[in-house]
Symmetry: C2
Subunit: 185 residues, 2 copies
DNA sequence: TTTTCCATGTAACTCGTTACATGATTTC
DNA sequence: GAAATCATGTAACGAGTTACATGGAAAA
């Protein structure tokens, strides 16, 4: 529901059309969240059907008319509801790219280190990008700040993993896939 | 692909059936990742079709036969491929529950604080749970450790947000859908 | 004049979850 | 004898992405 919340929250401040919303999110919030164009359009349509927003066409030359959206009273109520739900709950974070760490020993430690070094580069670049982003108005700054803190912590973490990985030797696969005899109940 | 990687990695160590895999993940890795039963079964079937694993039935009384899976050579190759991809890349993390923070000003600060306090409770509980989890073998411990570190950082972050939120007064909705006199940019 | 930007949309697809169904077996 | 556990599955749905299609306007 957080995408709906985002759209409603933005629309609450200014009426906007889909392209505009997508662009705003893509520019200002790229480091924190993302919302594909198709998703934005889809969601806006859905919210209109649900009566959360209304739509007003404004023509500009002969291009596709802008569908400018505006919150309804019902939409405002939904916003309040979603906001409270969002603020009061914590959504656990899953680190998809941690899974590989569980199987580090499947690789020679040199290679593992090289791969993690590569990851560290990517991570550092992301942190740099997040730091480079211009300051944002009001509470938006909170999100950016959070992301920065988080990324910095991730860099530190990854560096420590790499550091602790140095002294271990190579280990070949533990249980070969060809093995036949092995059976377990 | 990280779910496939996880299954392959576990199957590489011991041959196992779906129920067993799900249980292992649900018990040992609950704080780091999750994998629903249906997903596990589905993935195993998919991987079998793809030739990454083979399946051996073992009957136990009259219950549904255990389908015990084992890596093939092809599966081992895939595992290696997925592992490298996983280790070398960084997957950006999105904090879904940050969105609400952007719109904190839509609520009276008392209420915002109460909601965030509620979130903090949930977060603290999660941290406690992560800390309570028993130590795990080998590299698995890395994941647990990461999650713990992360959660601790999140607690600190949330506490700082709450602390900085204290001194600000109430602010009514900035641009009401019904159109009031009050407007702010 | 060619590229980029504006502005919309649709269809197919992937991934994963929910909810349901089955039936033996062990535990209380 | 009831409840939890073992062990499998299926069907429907939901959310979101990808890739595609359209066409005028502005900028290079």
């Amino acid at each position: 529901m957080e995408r709906e919340l985002l759209l409603l929250g933005l629309l609450r401040q200014h009426t906007m059309h889909g392209y505009q919303l997508h662009e705003l999110i893509d520019r200002a919030l790229a480091s924190c969240t993302d919302l594909k164009k198709s998703t934005a359009y889809f969601l806006l349509e859905k919210m209109e059907k649900a009566g959360w927003v209304t739509q007003t066409q404004t023509q500009a030359g002969k291009r596709p008319p802008r569908r400018v959206y505006q919150l309804t009273t019902h939409g405002e109520a939904e916003f309040q509801r979603l906001l409270r739900a969002n603020l009061s709950a914590h959504t656990p974070v899953r680190f998809a790219d941690d899974i590989g760490l569980a199987f580090l020993d499947a690789l020679k430690s040199e290679e593992a280190l090289a791969l993690l070094a590569h990851r560290l580069t990517a991570l550092t670049a992301e942190l740099a990008a997040a730091r480079a982003a211009p300051p944002h108005e009001g509470r938006l700054q909170l999100l950016i700040e959070h992301q920065r803190r988080h990324l910095a912590a991730e860099v530190a973490w990854l560096e420590s993993v790499i550091a602790h990985l140095q002294p271990s030797p190579a280990s070949p696969p533990p249980a070969a896939p060809v093995a036949r005899k092995t059976r377990r109940a």
